[in-house]
Structures are given as structure tokens and as C-alpha cells.
Symmetry: C2
Subunit: 439 residues, 2 copies
């Protein structure tokens, strides 16, 4: 009988603040990082790998939280664990002492997400399938057994979820074939970082258009004059045929959000993202009502399914943006996909960072195959950055994600990258250019 | 010029799970713990002490988060820092890399709370005043400078807060004198732990009545039959003159909460606490509407001021329960008190655990002196447990908290206790009775 033997953990950080890749109004100088876990077993020479994405300082705190879960995993029967990942999810999220540290939010909840996702990576590798195909191969009842409907039943019952999943059985094989042939739509944020010059913006916009993207996203919220100028540049470069979304990264209060968005509305925005605090369901709903018909998007920092439920109940969002690392892993994100389907809101995942594209693509592919059955108004964020560190990088061609084909969840990093960028002792940090402490 | 030199940190845990003190429907077997920080300076032989309360496993994760803040504090000018704790709060909460780990919730946010509270303990010790008197001595403008209104301005502007604070200037000296003379109302949860037998319940209820408490609280939510029986016992022992509140510790979904509360409504409850997820503003509001006029209380697990704002905006709560350790310290809790005053909802703080009574009493005393100016329908939770570990323990006599008189925030533990219960090497743990791992 094979058992889980332990975690190997890595504090992986990339010195991205040197180039201002990833700069926005809330996060002027991130060092993209991964609190990385490899789940080891005594069964075979394959690990289940996953991570929490962070932006630098505090990656060690996130790693401490992942390590705190190791005693709950060591010694578990491997087959039994992977055969009941719904049960594992409930045990980890329900551990009352650890739950106190959230509950179900922040560092501890994201740590559970990494461990759950590492199990999924291992399960998919052992099944010889990319994660999205493994998920799509499950029966509705098997999917339901992965899910904990606690706190959701006023909006989505197990029976309603079953109805959605059973309804999606029809045509599933055809949709999987279509995904294999044509992939899934992407949009790009690579041009839009706030720290880039106008010249660089133009160059990157031209590249995005040339690469076949039908939507780009710009960061906004630091200066209205700058935002107007950058939107004008984008519209001029892109023409009317390519959508423009903007992302404020939570910088506004409700009143200022409404005023600012009204100034940008003339650019016919695809959406305005994270206008205010990710916790502010009522505030986001108030903003949406006030700026209608400008679409509002949110979700990358939404702590759990309970907040997503309310965003949908309150009619606060036109676009729901799940994140692969923010909630407690694949299981909770399947609930998020089901909630979105129930309320008729498209899911356009947040990605970028380190490995977020790799991780989240599987969820959108699964969504099309087995939940929403639609790609209408749906696209996955794409940022062409740091993919070279992954064993099976996400691939975007002509504005579309190619269907992941390698067994696993695409979340395993290359051993060389783990070594090179281990913080603070990896050779990637040898120059001592990284500064902790005050910002 | 004096400077902050560093943190001394302690992983303090008490083996409370051996006795089931603290057991409830969500937390069957907690080991009360403190992720404890002593802020050291080169100025004098006095430290600023504070902690995050946890219930056992994960206290080390919480401590890692506190330690992650040390580089942001070491070397700071002591006087300048303590003179501008509003600025410090904004820098710590606003550190974009650390903020990613919440944002503004969970482990990282609570860590900031501990560091901010340690600064307040030090400031009050240096001022030679108990914290509540130091806060009450500040002018409205000085209080405002402590506060960050970000994400609140749709419900509470700085001008509105100023109006509240200026309105409370009148009679402040008299209210302070009254607090010194008569203290502040308390209620007790000591009788009501779910793990206690009926015999023990009766004995403790009789003691509570004899000690002069005008309200007790029982844990509910595991079994309706048990809850009904325990409420019957409580009403029989206490008679009609002493209020009974019940606490479900988040175990219900919206529908089950409504059904269960209706079954308990005949006991004329003072309030039903935490009927569902602390994140579920809309769900809590729906429950309150459905069970009206049974009062609903919540807040001990509310992650930040943004969620409190919404609970008030949505009319979800009759009683607001702040916690000294859940949000980012005194500064954020002053905002919470102001929000409650604005919406006309009484604040009855959550306490108990380790040191929560000690810490939170200062906020209610300040609330009466300088914010709400009322003790009507207000009382602080009291649990007579683990106070002996504090240098200046909270004191409750005849159902009322005595006014804290010792300089500081009452959050300093005795050095002997820190040593005895340091986990895992303190002599208090020498028996090896404590088990980590699976629950």
C-alpha cells in the first residue's frame, strides 16, 4: 500500500520588481513568487506539485502555512486519499484549530488550496491525463462528491448542481474534441502594466494585435489623466475591432470608482476590473448599478465561494474572475464555476503571475466541457512571462490557449528553476539586488 | 534618539482541550494559544506586548506572519512611530507585497493587528495610562489621524466620524469618572460550553446568577434536542430576570439557521450569535429578516472593517461583536466602533480565549467615554479562564468589568507563563499529552 511520505517545499521568488513587470496601482513593485509544495509518496518517482502565488515578501509565511498541513497528510493511504479528494478537502478546511486562522480565507485557506492542488496534480499524472480531461471524465455524481455545499445552499443546492452537471453530459465528448482542436480564447495583459512607458505600451499593443488577441487589458487607477491618455493610445493602436478592459486593482472607494469609471466609459470598455475592495459585495454592486452598462469584473482576490455567492446574489459582477491559488483549490473552484453557471455569469479567470496561467487553464477547459458548455464572453487572462520555468508550460497561439495535453495539472516547475530562484540562497538572488523591508 | 530594536516572539499554548473548556459546535477541542510578540526598544526596560489569539495548531504560522513584519519595524524612531500610529497602520496594511496574502484578512492582517496593538501597549505604558484612558484623552482630530477611511467612505466619511467624536466631547470627563467608579457591564459564557454535562451546566449557571451577571450565553448548533434541553435548564435555573444568549459558531446554512432559530425563539433569547459564515453578509441579513424579532449578533470572525460596514448597511445584525485580535488592531477597531455608532447598533465585544477580555475591555471603555456614550444594550463577554497568566488581569466583580487602571493595554503576559507554556518545549507541555496532526 502506497503512502504519502511528506512535503518538499520551496520558497521561489523572481526579481520582477527590477523591470516593473506586473506593476499596477495597488502593487507598484512586486517580486513574483511561489510558495511551492511537492507532495512525496513512497509509491513512485513522481510528485504532486502545486503552489500559492504571492508577490514577494511573505512568501515564507505562506510556506509556513503549507508546512503546517504536512502532519495532516503524512502517512495517509495514497489511493484512498486520491480517490476521495472531496473528503480530504472537508478534513483540511474543517480542521477547527487551523480554521480559526481564517476562517476559510487568506494564508491558511490558500495553503490548503496548494495541498489540494498538489493532490490533483498527482492524481492526473497517475491517470495519465491532463487535469482538465481527468475532471471532464468524472460522472456528475463523482464531481458532486468533491464538493462541500456548506454555506451555499441558499443559492446552489447539491440537486441544482447535479442538474447542471447532468445537463452538460450531452455533447461533452464533442466539446472536448473541439477544445483539443481549437483551444480556448485568451486575452492579454502583457501590454498594460502601469510602470511601462507610452512607447513600450504602443509596442506591446501592436504585438498583441499581431499575435491575434481579441482583447487586451490595461492597468488604471493611479492618475485619471494617464488612464485617459493610455486608453486613447490603446484605442488608436488597436482600432475598434479589439476589446479593451481595464483593471483598477482595488484602489477606489465606491464614490470615486463611479466618478472615475464614468470618465473612462467613452472607451467602450470590455470591463472594469476590481474597482474596490474584493470584500465589498455591496459596494461593488452599487458601483455596477451606477455605471451601467459598463461591465464590472472581480474575483482574483475573492477569498472563498461564500463571497462569490454573494457577488452573484447581489448582481455585483458581469464577469467572474476565479483564481487558481486564492481559494482552497480545484474543489472550491468547481463550486465557483457551478455558481457562475447558475447565475448566468461568464467566468474569465485571473492569470499571469507565476504559473497562474498554467494552473487555471484546466478549470476553464473543464468549465466548457462539463459545466457552462459555452465560451461566449469567456476568455482566460494571458501574460507571456515566466512560463519557461514550468515543465509543461501553457501555450497560447493566435490568441487562444492550446489544450493542455501533458498528464498533470501543469503546476510542476523545472528542478533547475526551483534551485536557481530559491530565496534567498539561490544563484538567481546571488547579486543581492533584492531588498526586503520597507517599501 | 530611541529606536525599535526588534521582536521577541513566543508560541504560547495552553492544553485546554484536555478539559473541553472552550468547546462549541464548530470547535470541539481547542488548545487556546497566543502568537505573542514583545516589541523591544533601546530606550528603556519596557516592551510593548500583544498577541493574536488562536486555538492551537497553526499558532506557529501566525507567529511567522508576525515575524515577517519585524524588518518593517526594526530601526524605526520610537517617538515618531508612537506619535503617528495612523501612519504606521497605513504602512503595514498598505505594504503591497504582504497585502497580497490577504488582502486585509486572515493570518497576515491579524499579525499586523498584534504589532499595532504592541505599539499601543508601549504607548500607553510610556504615557502612564491604561490604554482606554490614553485613547479617551485624544482630541477628535488626533483620533481621526489614527484612522484610514479607505473603503468606508460610502458609509462613514471622515467628516461624519469627526461629528461623532466632537459630539462625544461633551460629558466625556463625567463618563470617564463613571467608568472608574462603576466599571462596564459584562456577560458570561463560562457556563455554556458544549462539552459540559448538564450537571456542570446547572452548577455554573447558579454560580453565574450568584456572581451577579445579568446575561449568560450558551453554545448551540450541534443537536437541536440538546439545545432545547439546555435552554430549558438555563431558563429554569436563571428565572426570567437573567438574559440568555446563544451562539452557533457558524455551523448553519441560511435555511437550517432559520428553522433552528425558530425552534429556540420561545426562550426569549437576548441574541443568536454567528448563525452562519462570518463572510455571509447577505445570508446573515436573510436570516435576521426571517427570524425577526429574534436579535442576531456577529463579528468575532469578521475579517475587517469592510465586512462590518456591509453587515451594518445590509441590516444584518442587531449586535456587533468586535474582537481585539481579528482585525488590524486598535486603529481598525476604532473605525468599527464609529461605524456601529453611525448605524445605531450596540457593540458587545467577543472575549474569552487567552487575553481577549484583557485586550478588548479597553475598546468598550473607550467606546462609552468617547464614541457611543452609552452602555445601553452593551456588555463585554467574560470567561473566567487563563487570566492568571497576565501581569494586569481583567477583573469582573458583580457582573461588571472594573476599569483597567494599570498603564498599558493589559496585554502583557507574565514571564513565568510565557516560559511555562511555550510550545512545544515549555514545562507545561512536558507530559507530551498534546497531540498535533489529525483531529
Amino acid at each position: 500500500m502506497a503512502r504519502i511520505t511528506g512535503f518538499a517545499t520551496f520558497d521561489v521568488r523572481f526579481p520582477t520588481s527590477r523591470t516593473l513587470d506586473g506593476s499596477d496601482a495597488m502593487n507598484p513593485s512586486p517580486d513574483y513568487a511561489a510558495a511551492y509544495v511537492a507532495l512525496r509518496t513512497d509509491a513512485e518517482d513522481v510528485s504532486g506539485d502545486a503552489f500559492v502565488f504571492t508577490i514577494g515578501r511573505g512568501n515564507d509565511v505562506q510556506l509556513a502555512a503549507i508546512r503546517a498541513l504536512e502532519p495532516l497528510m503524512v502517512g495517509l493511504d495514497l489511493d484512498a486519499t486520491l480517490d476521495d479528494l472531496g473528503g480530504l478537502w472537508r478534513r483540511l478546511v474543517g480542521d477547527s484549530q487551523l480554521r480559526w486562522l481564517g476562517p476559510e480565507k487568506g494564508v491558511m485557506h490558500m495553503a490548503i488550496g496548494a495541498v489540494v492542488n498538489a493532490c490533483w496534480d498527482l492524481a492526473a499524472k497517475r491517470a495519465g491525463l491532463p487535469l482538465w480531461r481527468l475532471l471532464a471524465s468524472l460522472s456528475p455524481e463523482q464531481v458532486l462528491d468533491l464538493l462541500d455545499f456548506r454555506y451555499l445552499t441558499d443559492a446552489l443546492s447539491r440537486d441544482e448542481a447535479r442538474e447542471i452537471l447532468e445537463g452538460a453530459e450531452q455533447g461533452k465528448a464533442e466539446r472536448i474534441a473541439e477544445l483539443d482542436a481549437n483551444g480556448y480564447p485568451a486575452y492579454t495583459t502583457s501590454p498594460g502594466w502601469l510602470g511601462y512607458s507610452d512607447e513600450r505600451l504602443v509596442k506591446q499593443l501592436e504585438a498583441a494585435a499581431k499575435e491575434g488577441f481579441s482583447q487586451v487589458k490595461l492597468k488604471v487607477g493611479a492618475s485619471l489623466a494617464d488612464d485617459v491618455r493610455r486608453c486613447e493610445i490603446a484605442r488608436a493602436v488597436l482600432g475598434p475591432g479589439i476589446d479593451i478592459a481595464v483593471d483598477a486593482n482595488q484602489v477606489w472607494d465606491v464614490g470615486p470608482a463611479v466618478a472615475w469609471i464614468r470618465e473612462l466609459a467613452r472607451f467602450d470598455l470590455a470591463w472594469v476590473e476590481e474597482p474596490t475592495s474584493p470584500d465589498d459585495v455591496l459596494g461593488t454592486a452599487a458601483i455596477r448599478r451606477a455605471v451601467s452598462p459598463v461591465p464590472i469584473a472581480a474575483g482574483e482576490h475573492v477569498a472563498n465561494r461564500v463571497v462569490f455567492k454573494q457577488l452573484l446574489q447581489a448582481g455585483a459582477i458581469d464577469v467572474m474572475q476565479i483564481d487558481a491559488c486564492r481559494v482552497a483549490g480545484v474543489n472550491e473552484n468547481i463550486l465557483n464555476l457551478l455558481l457562475a453557471k447558475k447565475f448566468g455569469v461568464p467566468v474569465c479567470p485571473h492569470a499571469g503571475g507565476v504559473g497562474l496561467c498554467e494552473a487555471v487553464q484546466h478549470l476553464s477547459f473543464f468549465d466548457y466541457a462539463a459545466v457552462s458548455c459555452s465560451t461566449e464572453a469567456r476568455k482566460i487572462e494571458w501574460i507571456d512571462h515566466l512560463h519557461e520555468h514550468f515543465v509543461a508550460p501553457a501555450v497560447v497561439v493566435e490568441g487562444r490557449y492550446r489544450a493542455p495535453a501533458v498528464p498533470g495539472a501543469s503546476t510542476q516547475m523545472r528542478a533547475e528553476s526551483l534551485a536557481e530562484y530559491s530565496y534567498p540562497d539561490g544563484p538567481g538572488w546571488a547579486q543581492g539586488k533584492y531588498e526586503t523591508g520597507r517599501t
